[in-house]
Symmetry: C2
Subunit: 176 residues, 2 copies
């Protein structure tokens, strides 16, 4: 069976797999879902061209390396539960997670996210381009400072960028 849909995979940390699961809900026609307000009517219709292959929450460096076949930097901070990086390394790690997933799944678009101390890092890799950006919210995982605010901003910003990229690179709609 040939599947001509635009395939998407995500390897997320601080956004808890919610970018991928939201894309999945929009793509498979859920009537109501969290973050639906990010999409306008035309964008919701457009999403039927998308198919989510996997959306993963990976808080552990060890698991990210094993599952995504990558090598990550040593964490910048000692944090028992999960990885904790500075913003600079978060941007690197978000890219490495997206790249690892894209290589394994051979999907059109792969998204990686991680956030320790700083605004966090989000990477969207398409067949042509690499988009790397932070959230707009400073947070600190070790002090549990602004964690929920940064997460929400990261999910919303990640989704908005994804929609923008989808229109421009894959669907060539006139609105961009």
């Amino acid at each position: 069976m040939v599947d001509v849909k635009i395939s998407v995979g995500t390897a997320e940390c601080f956004t808890h797999a919610k970018i991928g699961i939201t894309i999945h809900k929009a793509a498979s026609g859920y009537k109501d879902f969290e973050f639906k307000e990010i999409f306008d009517k035309e964008e919701l219709r457009m999403m039927s061209n998308v198919r989510v292959l996997a959306s993963m929450f990976i808080p552990s460096i060890y698991a990210a390396e094993k599952l995504l076949n990558i090598k990550l930097p040593e964490p910048d901070y000692d944090y028992a539960y999960a990885k904790a990086y500075t913003e600079k390394n978060d941007l690197k790690v978000a890219y490495l997670m997206a790249k690892g997933l894209k290589d394994i799944l051979n999907c059109n678009i792969a998204i990686g996210t991680t956030a320790g101390i700083g605004r966090g890092g989000i990477c969207i890799l398409t067949d042509k381009n690499k988009y790397l950006f932070t959230t707009d919210v400073y947070g600190n995982l070790l002090k549990h400072e602004n964690i929920l605010e940064r997460q929400r901003n990261g999910i919303e910003k990640g989704l908005r960028k994804f929609i923008e990229i989808l229109k421009r690179e894959y669907l060539h709609t006139s609105s961009f």
Copy 2:
């Protein structure tokens, strides 16, 4: 660094990674979270012994095979977006997903879930035992029948079994 926590990984389909993410929230001390009511006070304290390495939503057979290094049966139904099996095969596939993940992460407990036509399948693999069960809700992915009800039941039942197993096999508390 030696980590003596009980490590957990999940590879979920119809439960949308929510079993793993809920365990993560309980384990890392979130104050409020969905499904918190499943845990009593003692169980919430107990959860600090647990660490979630990865919690994955994998709707696609192709992605499950690639990420978990397994081979899954052919789907029983033609369903463009994701895999769709009968209950009998869902139980098989839930086991295969849990087994694949446990082998890759070498974690103490691995959980797999999938649901097509029927009550769905949930597998919890520990270091000693295999637990395989369905939800209590018949659903049909192709007709979008009872999908949300089955999902909710699967998350709740999966979490309850997980807590029960954790107490009995790992923490040896007197309440079991």
